[in-house]
């Protein structure tokens, strides 16, 4: 699958809306000059104002975010405030500009051999599954989402996908336990007919990888790793694979599970 290539350089994208979904914020922006991304591709995001620029404060580097959803000329990103970069981004609203580079990386590939896609997401990692679900539906395929969250406040993010089954750590919404327990139920008896698409925290992805390996189910995992540039320049985002280190920004962020001995990426989820 050939990737959608990014226009060269950073460009401003006016923020058109800011919507809160429990613990998450959806930032919509107007991207006049960019191509439509493929599901699973990502962007490097910064706020146009008050972001480094030599004033000696963090954030300094842009942050990598998978695209949540697209409309004509519009990109949506899902932000959770977990540090100085995501906090600054989550504060943006109409009248502010994003500075973005993208779309970058390799997105999800269609299911092999007409397998039925199952989408497994955890926390803010549900983002690329929303655009993937949209695209699969446009192609006539309904794909269920199995989504795991910490608690009720985070579980409000589940509304961003359709046909979602929810698990929460504290049992406040849906299944009390891990999303991978929902996945195991889903795979039972269907291992030959499904393909798993997953994005979420390292422990969840590793559990998905292990289950899919045990059941011989093909899986595509959208990983995260600390990233300075997003286009292969810094060599900072490498993850170990069976082929040695690969740069997640140009060879990922979506990797086939069988390329990984572990999805526990050093430094991810930090």
């Amino acid at each position: 699958m050939t990737r959608t290539r990014a226009p060269f350089g950073r460009r401003p994208a006016p923020v058109t809306a800011r919507e809160e979904h429990g613990a998450y914020v959806v930032i919509r922006c107007h991207d006049r000059f960019g191509p439509s991304p493929q599901p699973g591709q990502f962007y490097m995001l910064a706020a146009a104002e008050r972001w480094g620029g030599g004033d000696g404060e963090r954030p300094f580097l842009p942050r990598a975010f998978s695209v949540l959803r697209v409309a004509v000329g519009e990109l949506q990103f899902l932000i959770e405030d977990v540090g100085p970069g995501s906090r600054r981004l989550s504060e943006l609203g109409p009248g502010d500009d994003l500075a973005l580079v993208g779309p970058l990386g390799n997105g999800f590939a269609p299911p092999r051999d007409d397998r039925v896609p199952i989408l497994v997401g955890g926390g803010v990692g549900i983002a690329p599954l929303a655009i993937w679900q949209d695209e699969l539906r446009a192609g006539g395929t309904e794909s269920p989402g199995l989504l795991g969250f910490r608690d009720e406040r985070h579980a409000k993010g589940a509304a961003l996908l359709t046909h979602a089954s929810v698990a929460t750590d504290d049992g406040s919404v849906g299944h009390h336990g891990l999303v991978t327990e929902l996945l195991a139920d889903e795979l039972d008896g269907r291992a030959d007919d499904v393909e798993v698409y997953a994005c979420g925290p390292p422990l969840m992805l590793e559990a998905v990888r292990a289950i899919c390996t045990d059941w011989s189910v093909p899986a595509q995992l959208a990983l995260e790793s600390g990233m300075a540039c997003g286009f292969g320049a810094c060599f900072g985002c490498v993850v170990p694979t069976v082929d040695g280190y690969v740069r997640l920004c140009v060879d990922g962020p979506v990797l086939d599970a069988h390329k990984l001995q572990s999805a526990l990426v050093a430094g991810a989820g930090h």
Partner: protein
Amino acid sequence: MSVDFCGIELAHPVINGSGTFDAIAAHRAFGDELFERFPFAAFVSKTVTLEPRQGNPPPRLWEVPGGLINSIGLPNKGLSGYLEHDLPFLANLPVPLIVNVMGFSRDEVAELVAAFAERPEVSALELNVSCPNVETGLVMGADPGETARLVDRVRALTDKPLIVKLTPNATDVPAVARAAEQAGADAVSLINTLKGMALDPRTGGPWLGGVTGGVSGAAVRAIALAQVHAVAQAVEIPTIGMGGVQAGRDGLDLMRAGAALVGIGTESFRDPAAGERIASELGELLANSAV
């Protein structure tokens, strides 16, 4: 705004720092627009070593106020991999190619220099001396004598301009620069990254897989300016100044301190086209001021 650098004609004075831009990966991300708007007047490739290197274990990055610490560990395909896979692509860039090399002994560096000396695609060579000589245990670029012996060893192997990339982690950087000049270097470039460290807030142990790393970005700009100023006063050969350049204004400062060319590194991580913008800003500033 074109400049002559050691006999190489450059369209403007802005180039990249070695290891801060991968033209091959950037072409995968941005396509041919990268060539149409190539942001640098010359392209300095990532360090090539004799043997392939995987690089350091992750995590490799840590953001600091105004910059970052990296511990990448010079991953590369090795000399034969570079000649076979990378050089044919880089030869087609619209700008001159400068190849950065590093060895763990003078003989290794000599082998690398000799191999590139005969390649017409290569306009100049840069020696990364921020590496210990396994025979002496000394970081080559931290000691004037080591630097002189290295440049002396390789000087006769090539007619191409030889640039020595100085390390800022040295007691007397101008003395190292003078040693390089006296041994026949055609130019010096600085600064490389400054040694730094971050601790994992959860464990209290080192965050970086390589334990320590190199600090770059706006945070090091004032240090770079002082070192470029000191080195440019110490040598007659041209100086390539870099360290925290984010705008034409920063490049002008380095040129006023004595730099002939300006290198862009970390700013390209924030905006891949930063070099193009900075060259344009610098061009306007140079047109309106006497350096």
